[in-house]
Symmetry: D2
Subunit: 303 residues, 4 copies
Amino acid sequence: MRARRRRPPYASLVTAQNLPDDRPRHWILTLSCPDGPGIVHAVAGVLAEHGGNITESQQFGDPYSGRFFMRVQVEAAASREELTTALGGVAERFDMTWDLDVAGRPIPTLLLVSKAAHCLVDLLYRERSQHLPIDVVGVVGNHRDLEDIAEFYRKPFHHVPVTRDTKAESEAAIRELITGTGAELVVLARYMQILSDEMCRDHAGRIINIHHSFLPSFKGAGPYRQAHDRGVKIIGATSHYVTGDLDEGPIIEQDVERVDHAATIDELVRIGEDTERRTLARAVRWHAEHRVLLDGHRTVVFR
Amino acid sequence: MRARRRRPPYASLVTAQNLPDDRPRHWILTLSCPDGPGIVHAVAGVLAEHGGNITESQQFGDPYSGRFFMRVQVEAAASREELTTALGGVAERFDMTWDLDVAGRPIPTLLLVSKAAHCLVDLLYRERSQHLPIDVVGVVGNHRDLEDIAEFYRKPFHHVPVTRDTKAESEAAIRELITGTGAELVVLARYMQILSDEMCRDHAGRIINIHHSFLPSFKGAGPYRQAHDRGVKIIGATSHYVTGDLDEGPIIEQDVERVDHAATIDELVRIGEDTERRTLARAVRWHAEHRVLLDGHRTVVFR
Amino acid sequence: MRARRRRPPYASLVTAQNLPDDRPRHWILTLSCPDGPGIVHAVAGVLAEHGGNITESQQFGDPYSGRFFMRVQVEAAASREELTTALGGVAERFDMTWDLDVAGRPIPTLLLVSKAAHCLVDLLYRERSQHLPIDVVGVVGNHRDLEDIAEFYRKPFHHVPVTRDTKAESEAAIRELITGTGAELVVLARYMQILSDEMCRDHAGRIINIHHSFLPSFKGAGPYRQAHDRGVKIIGATSHYVTGDLDEGPIIEQDVERVDHAATIDELVRIGEDTERRTLARAVRWHAEHRVLLDGHRTVVFR
Amino acid sequence: MRARRRRPPYASLVTAQNLPDDRPRHWILTLSCPDGPGIVHAVAGVLAEHGGNITESQQFGDPYSGRFFMRVQVEAAASREELTTALGGVAERFDMTWDLDVAGRPIPTLLLVSKAAHCLVDLLYRERSQHLPIDVVGVVGNHRDLEDIAEFYRKPFHHVPVTRDTKAESEAAIRELITGTGAELVVLARYMQILSDEMCRDHAGRIINIHHSFLPSFKGAGPYRQAHDRGVKIIGATSHYVTGDLDEGPIIEQDVERVDHAATIDELVRIGEDTERRTLARAVRWHAEHRVLLDGHRTVVFR
């Protein structure tokens, strides 16, 4: 059986190719495969043969799924071709799903928004401050409310309205934008529309959403109203990969904030916005740093 | 309409009666009533007339339920009779549910346990260290596993086994123990049995449970297994008043702990035990300090 | 002895005066005075006489300083003059420091910045989102780096460079801006200059700073470098009122974030920026909502 | 230069030797050495040659100290002799400080206490619940207050009083107890005596203390009084290895709790006890699981 590459576009990565061949580079290798002896040794062997120096490495064997996960950051002067060829053999032998990327490469990212600004402002600010290894290639809004923010950060803003009747066309427009911009990651930054099963499937593991509750509590609409009604003492937010199963995708990160009886629903919303943007920013950063690996409907996060 | 007293046994409180009459005492007054102008003034007036000096006070008007809540800690040399009579008038005028207690009086408490020791050990240790204003008057176990711990802390241990056929008899035995020991509070310290609707109703607002999940997530059995399966990144515990509606009672306190993909179900259980005992201890302390007031199916907690 | 008003400009507050006289308004009353019996009763009495309905109220008697603190939110149709006159009598009787403001009035605020953008971006975004009851009347920078951000939020940007020789002139310019804009609050949003003792004294309790460490750990310069060197497992930020005693002013709020051995100094800086902006935003909000009262070199925060 | 073994007694470990030779066992290998290429490959090679299956592994290269750290959990049927011999070669080649232990082996531990019970109660409870891989071989108290707790958990209690004049003799007695009981770890569970420089040096990296403040804030005596006086909004605790430099040893773990203005010094003490016992228990567990490696005066903690 052939080993699968998770994100094929990486193979022809221009950035990596253009680096001078005699300069050591940092690579990130991520992989998963059925657990068994000899994996680390085999991988480390390939890296050592190419003069690689491992600067960060994490492994995890999941006793429930029987799968093995690994993330290696390595300094190696070898070319992408050399590494890819050498790793390809090991990958085939252990039936690996794997990916090799240049460390720090900004991931081309498309942001989908609606009217709420907090996540958009936060992500764009963090990109500009170089706190997030992403390259925001565009902002899509089903409303025009946040156009000025996109403009301030010099990002193309695409107004793609969604009505009950135009859902399919809107999604087609978004798909075209993904292709046209070369986006490898889509972030639903409080985009209040539901994507089709087909779209979720085609971009599995590449669309991140922020849900404004501590899932699985308070699924669906109005989570802060639900939280207030139940009288919880802590509210939260959940960032997850989008799947066809609404609010059930693999969780990447969650965070919480303490509240008390005096907080109105409006105040929960305000408090929650802080938690949401923090949670989403972490999920996006870990994804962009290749720290998140899928383990069935769960995630392995090598923080 | 007559004002209601929340906990009638307090009126004949021996501890309070025996204090010398000329020594200032600390009292705690808690009340709730329909919101409206003049309540604080009227209450403060009664207290001022009796030489009371307010040392701590909190109020809250719930815009959703339209009810007003107040907790006052006051230093006053007046006798219980004088205060009760004077407050009775105000209470009737504003249709108050109210309660007056001596600050720091240890609340007679019955602990119900099963096999898990962590909450029992914690509560008994905190009582002994005078970190909890409770007086544990007995420990009831449906198994004998924790008898030695009760003995070490010199607490009567009552073995009340529960089988499918003896459920009613067991509950009757527990009711008798509550009456016999004068317990004003019952704590289900990981007591894995479900109480009857009738028992919940008769002791409404006086039975505290610890549920080993961040409610409303993962209700029912095996919450840590559920949490592991869903791949959550944070687990929690919830302490609530017991009602006939399982896992739906008014929440007093919740707390959480961060976990990661590598945590097995067993490890979640171990991590969770810390969260459970901490959460339960806080709920019991706040209840015993009269900081928890019922607002429908929610709680007001004057921390 | 006459009672002192904390912030005299409030008395002639235009916003409040212009409200129609027959519409109930929300007021915030804050006060502190030597502790003793009858204070709450007297204050509640004045409010009740003017048809006031208390919607939120907190009191605290500090056993160490012997002072009493109170914050009352009250709905009352009375005019400012009526309330001020009536409260003035009580204030004099109990030797109170007090203040009366219209609830929700945006506090005119001047932001002082240097090169780091995170706190400025955050405060301006929160103001625009109406999450902070402040009215930013201007941004002062000793560098021009953040001018574009101020412009985006349509705020006047004042470039006031500071060199060793022009320190006094720069401070004079800032003082003029405070007066000219009517600023009642000055926020040092990572403004890396030290203010003179005189300036600190003249604006005592009205200048808020954010220090990028968990004070009193790591005072002075380079706190993240210090934190890394000491190998701490948690880093923090501290928001405090500025006094002549550097990094020793009354603490309003602190927050922390967990870090591990792998975090470089640069990563601590990045993690810390999140903590800083969150901590500063809370301090500014609580101050602007009149929740922070001075108790010697400590603060009482009625959250 | 020869590779150093951190804890020589492990070599003759009876537990490991007695396991049947044909049964796979879990081992933990920890090592540190000057950073460079090929380390992981060499180590993984040795493990693979002996049929080892890596179940958990973490590496870290410290860019500041230039050292490399690694912890591997491995399932291998090989005998201790075989593994030790094979690893010895690699260790010598890379100038490693290393240690090999059987996973889950309870570390013989001596607890030193004074009058405060909270940490002792917690550690003994966790050992009994099998939440801590330690084997408490004795409790030493300079007072007799906690003797009954030791007895309840069936631990030998040694009363070793300390006065100004008997300091040296007391320490000699403790040293004898360490040798006599075979203790590999000493925990100062709120033992309020200062150990001599010589003792700290002789047991470097094997004595864990809990300090009741968020170090480096509030060193020395009365940290809660200091914290109250400074008006901090968060208090903490710090668990660290003991060195001759008081309160300056390598930090293993810290944790914090939020407090407010109303907390008295006594309440800070009570709140702090929870933080202390939680922090200490984590530090002891991580040490006992060989997750803590020394990196100069800092620690690497592979959680």
